[in-house]
């Protein structure tokens, strides 16, 4: 069953390590609108990949496609995570398989308290960080544990959303603009956390508008434009390549 497609032809980077997460020729649609237009890339275990591009380039769509959310529809393509065919799974199966998404609009569940939001993440095994450990990471959440999640401040909600992903034992963390709305100190804090969990072997895809910041953290970078990959290489390469930065990232 677990026949893995041979990606070597498609992977336009030189690394030889076997890919942990592979996306191959993925096409996604919102209804009639054709958004992700056949993208392929690999992520290796323990790597942080920065996914960059302008507004509307299709970054969020890509992450949502990988997470197997019903909208957009992936009409063609394969997604493999650690020998498991994600493209054949529903989103909850993909989550059990080890995928964790921090969505761009945070998606705190209305009607549930902070703690319940976290408990919810631990109903279906495998379970990751304990709730207490998450409170240590974000003390603010601990203080607010009995408050309804949606009444948190914007930044607090962002923390909760990240904490909720970590509450599950995941193999790949997909972060859609995690720094948005966070105070600079907290951004520093989260960056440290990301480094920390990277050290523990977590694989991460990071979508971020603040490209410089993302690139400083990431090992590799992919740049999307109108739903296609226009660059796939090391993060350092992007930082050095002025032309690229200018054309696609406007920095």
């Amino acid at each position: 069953m677990n026949v893995r497609p041979d990606f070597s032809k498609n992977a336009n980077h030189a690394e030889t390590a076997p890919a942990f997460l592979s996306v191959w020729d993925m096409h996604s649609y919102y209804g009639e609108s054709y958004i992700v237009q056949g993208i392929s890339f690999n992520v290796h275990e323990g790597e942080i990949l920065a996914l960059l591009g302008r507004n509307g380039a299709g970054k969020t769509t890509t992450l949502r496609s990988i997470a197997r959310l019903g909208n957009p529809q992936v009409l063609k393509g394969e997604i493999w995570l650690d020998h498991q065919p994600l493209h054949r799974m529903a989103s909850h199966e993909a989550a059990v398989a080890g995928l964790g998404l921090v969505p761009e609009d945070r998606r705190i569940i209305p009607g549930l308290t902070v703690e319940e939001n976290l408990q919810l993440a631990q109903i279906q095994p495998p379970i990751g960080w304990s709730i207490e450990r998450l409170y240590d990471l974000f003390p603010r959440l601990g203080e607010r544990r009995k408050q309804e999640g949606v009444t948190l401040s914007g930044g607090e909600q962002q923390m909760l959303s990240i904490a909720r992903a970590l509450a599950r034992d995941i193999k790949v963390l997909l972060l859609d603009e995690p720094y948005e709305g966070l105070a600079p100190v907290i951004v520093d804090e989260i960056e440290k956390t990301l480094r920390l969990i990277k050290e523990q072997g977590m694989t991460t895809i990071l979508v971020e508008q603040n490209a410089v910041r993302a690139l400083q953290l990431a090992d590799r970078a992919i740049i999307l434009d109108t739903g296609s990959v226009v660059f796939d290489g090391s993060a350092a390469e992007v930082l050095e390549n002025e032309e690229l930065r200018h054309e696609y990232l406007a920095i």
């Binding site: 054709y34 958004i35 237009q37 739903g227």
Partner: protein
């Protein structure tokens, strides 16, 4: 033309032409043919089509635009009817004052109900309107019998001598429009076909065309846009400096007045009112008509109204004798077999067919009958369009 253009204008012209030619279009089968059962071109049903069409058009202004789902609109129809019949009993047999009072009273009543109910939204609003309508029904049925005639309702009686009309002693007054009696018809016979041109129907049709025209104007007006904005995001509306309350109340009252107009016309066509006109199922019916046709579309509610009234009046009249007649040409065994198959769905089983149709429409045509029409239209437009669509699909990349 007339301040509407493009697609709206064609829809309007289509509706107007359909309404005016209905006596012909709805009677496609010769009188003596077995299919004559399906003819709907007789005055009563045609009147019902357009009257319920008006009711549904008005309901759609509230529901389709603002998303507020009222479950008590039949109360306004009932109030309009009672107002109209009293006008006819007391003031004039001419339908105009009756209809005007129907609109006025329904409007006033909807101001009251709307003002209170609109303090809540969503399902809470629906239940408030339902509660008002059910109270109106219950009171009209029993305690208010002196005013409403109770269960048996109100009719024009031999003793009724309206102020402005002269009715001969012992005769029963008839509704008229400046002397033209509503029940007057002339029958045109063409070969095996018979077409009934009825005064009452044409009065209704003209009113409906006017009501439809007004609805189009409202839909395309800044006011209509505001109503859609209410449905979309009330929060943003408030922070943009708009008070959403009067907008919704205005929509509520307008649709209540449409209901009153429908109620008044009903009395004008058939001078009788009963309280079950206000029962919750009657309110539910207009909801179903609107959704069935396609909520928020211009023509949908009219289609939905026609569909339900057709089922009610035509399918319920098919009995086993009629079925046997239809299939008489088949060998006996076949005939009985087919009759057995169809029998549960017609006549006393017409509710079953209606229920199945409701389900089928929502399941297969999420946008209501209008969507069905669009699908058929698309099919007719044929391959050429399909090719074009296929090409554009790849280019449809909104990303910049």
């Amino acid at each position: 033309m007339l301040g509407i253009k493009g697609k709206d204008l064609s829809v309007f012209i289509l509706v107007a032409v359909l309404a005016l030619l209905a006596p012909f279009l709805l009677n496609p089968f010769p009188v003596d043919s077995a299919m004559a059962q399906f003819n709907a071109g007789y005055p009563d049903l045609m009147q019902r089509f357009v009257i319920f069409g008006i009711f549904a058009i008005g309901f759609n202004i509230l529901f389709g635009l603002t998303g507020y789902l009222s479950f008590g609109h039949a109360a306004f129809l009932g109030v309009g009817s009672y107002a109209a019949i009293w006008m006819m009993k007391l003031v004039s047999l001419n339908i105009v004052p009756g209809i005007i009072m129907a609109i006025v009273f329904a409007g006033l009543f909807s101001v009251l109900v709307g003002y209170i109910s609109l303090r809540r939204s969503g399902i809470y609003f629906s239940i408030l309107t339902l509660a008002f309508a059910q109270m109106s029904y219950a009171l009209a049925y029993s305690v208010l019998t002196p005013i409403t005639g109770g269960e048996t309702g109100l009719q024009i009686k031999p003793g009724d001598t309206p102020l402005l009309s002269n009715v001969a002693e012992g005769e029963i007054g008839r509704a008229n429009f400046f002397g033209l009696e509503m029940s007057d018809s002339s029958v045109i016979t063409l070969g095996g076909w018979e077409f009934t041109m009825n005064v009452g129907y044409y009065v209704c049709a003209v009113v409906m065309i006017a009501a439809f025209y007004l609805a189009i104007r409202i839909f395309r007006s800044p006011f209509g846009m505001m109503l859609r904005a209410v449905k979309s995001n009330q929060q943003r509306m408030n922070y943009t400096g708009l008070n959403s309350k009067p907008y919704t109340l205005a929509a509520f009252v307008i649709s209540g007045m449409y209901a009153g107009l429908a109620g008044g016309l009903m009395v004008a066509m058939d001078t009788q009112v009963g309280p079950e006109r206000m029962f919750w199922t009657a309110s539910g019916e207009v909801v179903l008509m609107t959704i069935l046709g396609g909520a928020g579309t211009l023509i949908g509610p009219v289609l939905g109204a026609g569909f339900i009234k057709y089922m009610e009046n035509i399918v319920s009249k098919i009995n086993s004798t009629v079925l046997h007649e239809w299939f008489a040409f088949l060998p006996d065994g076949m005939e009985d077999f087919l009759v057995t198959i169809f029998y549960p769905f017609v006549g006393k089983g017409w509710h079953l067919t209606l229920g199945l149709m409701f389900m089928a429409v929502v399941i297969f045509l999420p946008g209501g009958l209008v969507q069905g029409g669009q699908k058929i239209a698309a099919m007719f437009r044929g391959k050429k369009a399909a090719e074009k669509d296929g090409k554009t699909a790849n280019q449809q990349t909104p990303a910049e």
